[in-house]
């Protein structure tokens, strides 16, 4: 009886849902939040293993005053922004075209979801084989006599323009945006699209006045996710990026693996700055969608 009474008390206090969530919450708290707290404390100069115990912002100051940081930041922002912009515009366009052509659903569904299932690294290798200076296209052009040497083929990889990295991100992210937006567009189109049509709106007007604004929360959501990912992603810029400038994550990694242990707080300060940047983006997302939803629902 006592056990049941305790059970009821727990239910009354609404603890039960948290208990059910405990296994997942523990993983998040230990591995994510724990890791973040460790990084944060280390970035503030608390690293007892090497004798650093004084809390200060000097590593942030050091990072923020380095020209390399600003180059890295602008390079990271450039890659993330351009790939997000292209992916969003093309993803939304593709979603709208899919809506209009009404092809065999299974076929189109497979076609645009296929890149989602391919890991970034595999996509990178595929595009590298295709577009690098020693890749298929360059060699084909050489065979056809269009190039006198593969060195004439534009350098998409290991270059400052980061075209290769952006292309790989786009290849992966366009289907993601399409998937998110297409599902929303499908629901809007049949009903509200017809209502707009009957009121004299052309297909273009229906898209810009009804479909686009109504799918904006999902577009913003998809954009924020892909921007945050490409802003913080490490493997592609590390493998295919230029020697200088480096993206923030690569720069942080290099500081972390540096034989000089005193550089580690610098790496953690960079990581914290990346996290804060991403958190700021999430805040913007919630703020902007809240503005939409406040009026709609």
């Amino acid at each position: 009886m006592k056990r049941y009474a305790l059970f009821n008390t727990l239910r009354r206090e609404r603890i039960l849902p948290y208990l059910y969530l405990a296994p997942a919450l523990l993983v998040i708290i230990i591995f994510f939040l724990g890791g973040f707290v460790l990084a944060l404390t280390m970035s503030l100069g608390y690293f007892p293993v090497v004798g650093l115990k004084e809390i200060s912002f000097k590593y942030y100051q050091e990072v923020l005053t380095q020209a390399e940081f600003w180059h890295s930041l602008s390079f990271t922002f450039y890659i993330a922004f351009i790939s997000t912009l292209i992916s969003t515009v093309l993803g939304v366009f593709l979603a709208y075209q899919l809506l209009k052509i009404k092809l065999n659903q299974r076929f189109t569904s497979f076609l645009y979801k296929f890149p989602l299932a391919v890991p970034h690294l595999v996509a990178a290798v595929m595009i590298l084989f295709l577009l690098s200076q020693g890749g298929l296209i360059a060699r084909a052009m050489l065979k056809l006599g269009l190039l006198s040497g593969t060195g004439e083929f534009p350098a998409f990889f290991y270059s400052k323009n980061a075209v290769g990295i952006i292309l790989i991100y786009c290849w992966k992210e366009i289907p993601f945006v399409t998937l998110m937006v297409y599902t929303v567009l499908q629901k809007i189109d049949t009903k509200l699209g017809e209502a707009a049509q009957i009121l004299g709106a052309s297909s273009r007007q229906t898209f810009f006045h009804i479909l686009l604004p109504l799918s904006m929360p999902s577009i913003i959501s998809a954009s924020v996710i892909i921007f945050a990912y490409s802003f913080g992603a490490f493997e592609l810029p590390y493998l295919l990026g230029a020697t200088y400038p480096k993206t923030l994550s690569v720069w942080a990694y290099l500081n972390y693996i540096s034989p000089e242990l005193l550089d580690r707080p610098l790496a953690m300060a960079i990581n914290t700055l990346i996290s804060v940047g991403c958190a700021f983006l999430v805040f913007i997302y919630f703020w902007s969608t809240k503005k939409y939803f406040r009026n709609w629902s």
Partner: protein, 388 residues
Amino acid sequence: MCKKMRDISKDIGNICKDLGNVSENMGSSGKGLNTAGGQGKPKLRLQNLTKRFGQEIAVENLSLTIQEGELLALVGHSGCGKTTLLRLISGLTPPDAGSIWLDGQDVTALPAGQRDIVMVFQENLLFPHLTVGENIAFGLKMTGCPQKVRIQKTRQLLELIQLPGIENKYPSQLSGGQKQRVSLARALALEPKTVLLDEPLSNLDPKLREELRDLILRLHKELQMTTVLVTHDRDEAMLMADRIAVMSYGKLLQVDTPINIYNQPRTREVASLFGPCNFLPGYLLDGEFWTENFRFTVPALKKGGRMVACIRSEHIKVTRPSQDKPTGVITEKKFLAGQSIFKVAFGNFTLLANGQDYFAYAPGNEVGLEIDWSRVYFNPEQLESGRA
């Protein structure tokens, strides 16, 4: 006498067989239906419209003319093709065959929105991201109307629908009735001459329905619009329409005024759609109707022969049994607001009859049946062919 009655029963059986063919012909050609409407200038003409969805026929070879300024109600059971017909007229769905004429112009190939026809949907379909004012002015904005005019027109329309000052609210802040009013105003902003209403009152509670019904009628008259109203509510159709078109399985069963539809239904299905009805097959001859071993004296009619009498339940009264009246046995009774309905076994038939006093009779009681033959409609062919 008995031989004569047997012959009549045989003949009635043959009628049933024949009626199937007659119904087919009527549905496909529209012959015998008053599809042309009354006198006046034809506004909208549908000619042999057909629409199929795969194997399913939604609208089959349907012809109908709607007069200018007329309010026509499309009535029928769910899935009979009412909404598909409305979508064909609006241009949202292209027909497989046939043509649509508006003011003498063939508009079949014109896309929706370019036909001077607007539609109000069942679910109001207001744009959730736009304010009431922006919703109402949407059609005007699409046509490039200046902002000043749009604002002025929106205010006028809000006055017209008796909701002034709500232009800055969002649809989510409105009640169901208000949403439907705004939806109506949005359609009217384009000053259409033809309005299609797809069950606009079906999601509202009875009081709001009544209010919006009156508003639609008022606007229909004030703005001299041609209106096609889809509804499955027979009272709504009766109260609002100048003519009612009854649809079944993509075909028109009858197009007529509400009174004629009620009093002179062409088929069993039409009769049943507009209230409880009894169908007595028999033989009509020289002011007498022979059925179930009974001879009734009826008003003299020009027509005669094998007939089916269509008798509304309110035209049969349950009384005390007497020698001069046919009798039956009550099998069931129900109380409805203001009247009592009795099911009475009469020969091989079960009749629905009305009675004044619910408590005066009980199941198993023998009762007399008093039929007001002046209100009975005799149909020579169609009643037995209905698919009800």
